[in-house]
Amino acid sequence: MNDRFASAAMPSFNPWQAAIFVCLTVLALLFLAPTIGVLLSSLKTTEDIALGKLWSFPTSLYLDNFRTVLADPAIHTYFLNTLLIAVPATAGSIVLGILSGYVFAKLPFRGSDVLFLAIVAGMFFPPQVILIPLFRLFNGLGLLDTLWPMIFVHIAMGIPICTLMMRNFFATVPAALREAAIIEGASEWQVLTKVALPLSLPALAVLSTLQFTWIWNDFLWPLIFTQSDDKRTIMLGLVFLQGQYSVAWGIQGALSLIASLPTLIVFLFFQRYFIKGMTMGAVKG
């Protein structure tokens, strides 16, 4: 990807490189095995899986599971709903995290460390702890069975991680840069948007990817806050394939592969920006 570790006089074949390549390939195969399991399950009938034939390669290509999933109009609704939750909630939590992260990193005050600690500590919970009070709150607001509770809750639950991450990255922005800008008449808002944020692109890329992935894959909140089928999310669709006495494994495999695509696409899209973070290194060096 880049030649920073390569010495200038490197020969065309490097035994180290070959060893690393082999090593990575072996690890990659180990890492892929479980995912291949999902793929195999999606290509098999529930009956085959029940009889323990999961890990064998399919003799014929059985695509009915994918057909069933893609043709189901309910799945389309689930996808749209999940998107309508994940996008605003991701954006919202990052914006709020940027604001608080900037204050904690660049405008510390007496007690700000304790406040920061309290916010981060707020994340150390199984969310089940706050299920009942939140349910009461949204019930009182008449928002049950809409997408709003999930959007609000994910924004709130994302604040600790976004604050932590943004504070950490803003801390690496040299104090001198901010002071120079302030002396030139810039407001804190301008320092944040024009100086600090452009230097924190990798953090934004990482956060967008993470938040989107977590929100996309969550099923606890929609399980509690939605009741109608047309308000449900894709992960609930996945959970509901589990019947009272049996599970449609093949369809679940197919749906989970399809349901994972958006998060994978988000990752592939944002990983380019991880590299753009080079600018940050340039300043720091």
Partner: protein
């Protein structure tokens, strides 16, 4: 100047604090309130019982086991993905062909939901036709039928392995982002001075990766509680509570035994433990900041 600063502080902190306060802190403390009651979750009438629920903790053998497991889980959830992620990042960053393919492969597991990851690892650990026993049988030439998830000695660690598999890619990506931020000329200087790659990594790269490490460790700690989902799916805390963590114990007491009051007491304790860990971590974080300020 200082007045300006205060104004900005207030303006910038109010939106996040308001949202966080209403949707996390308030519900948290209102659920803490149940810890001094005998509420069962259903009944409209419950009464104040003082610290009875907290005293009960001392007579609850399941709590002790869950606390020990929580520590094991948190340590492993931080150390394993961090270590493995760092190794992977260093390997991938070394100009290896197909780096972006490798990166995507290692990252892939994060994209899968806990439901799927849990299920697929149940299939891997399956005693008869599971992938792990099949592989062991192949290597040893024996006939391995070990029930990894059903034995109290291995269940917790088997889930930790699945969890690490899912989380390693995340650590790797953050380390890679950290590595790209290391100025190229710094590495160049090392080359000129003739440092070996081992030296280079130890003396130059690792210290500069500290901000990334801070993030990875923090994420590991925070995420270790998200691990509830996968534990819930793979063992549900079993067999016979041997893989219970405090979060699982809290869940069982509140939602399965309908001891909402006692469950809330457990979550208060969990909160205090978390606070202690974060406090220790926070001090570490401050040391890192000193490098930059």
């Amino acid at each position: 100047m200082e007045k300006d600063k205060t104004l900005w502080r207030v303006a910038m902190l109010i939106p996040p604090l308001a949202v966080f306060g209403i949707l996390v802190v308030w519900p948290l403390f209102s659920s803490f309130y149940y810890s001094i009651t005998n509420w069962n979750g259903f009944s409209a009438d419950y009464r104040y019982v003082g610290f009875d629920n907290f005293l009960q903790i001392f007579h609850d053998p399941l709590f002790t086991r869950a606390a020990v497991n929580t520590v094991i889980w948190m340590l492993a959830a931080v150390i394993v993905p961090t270590g493995l992620g760092l190794v992977l990042a260093l390997l991938i960053d070394s100009q290896v062909p197909g780096a972006s393919v490798f990166k995507s492969i290692f990252y892939l597991p994060i994209c899968l939901s806990a439901i799927v990851v849990g299920q697929i690892w149940v299939w891997i650990y399956q005693p008869d036709w599971g992938l792990l026993n099949t592989a062991i049988s192949l290597v040893t030439g024996g006939n391995s039928h070990f029930a990894w998830l059903a034995k109290p000695g291995t269940a917790l660690y088997a889930v930790i392995a699945a969890w690490s598999w899912q989380q390693t890619g995340l650590a790797m990506v953050i380390f890679l982002a950290g590595l790209t931020a290391i100025p190229a000329d710094l590495i160049e200087v090392c080359h000129i001075e003739g440092a070996s790659s081992g030296q280079r990594i130890r003396q130059v790269v690792l210290p500069l990766l500290r901000p990334a490490t801070v993030v990875v460790v923090a994420l590991g700690l925070i995420n270790s509680l998200k691990g509830f989902d996968i534990l819930y799916i793979m063992t549900g805390g079993g067999p016979f509570n041997s893989s219970d963590t405090l979060a699982m114990h809290m869940y069982n007491e509140s939602f399965k035994k309908y001891h909402m009051g006692y469950g809330s007491a457990i979550s208060v304790v969990l909160f205090l433990i978390a606070l202690a860990i974060i406090f220790a971590y926070f001090r570490q974080l401050r040391k890192v900041d000193e490098i930059y300020e």
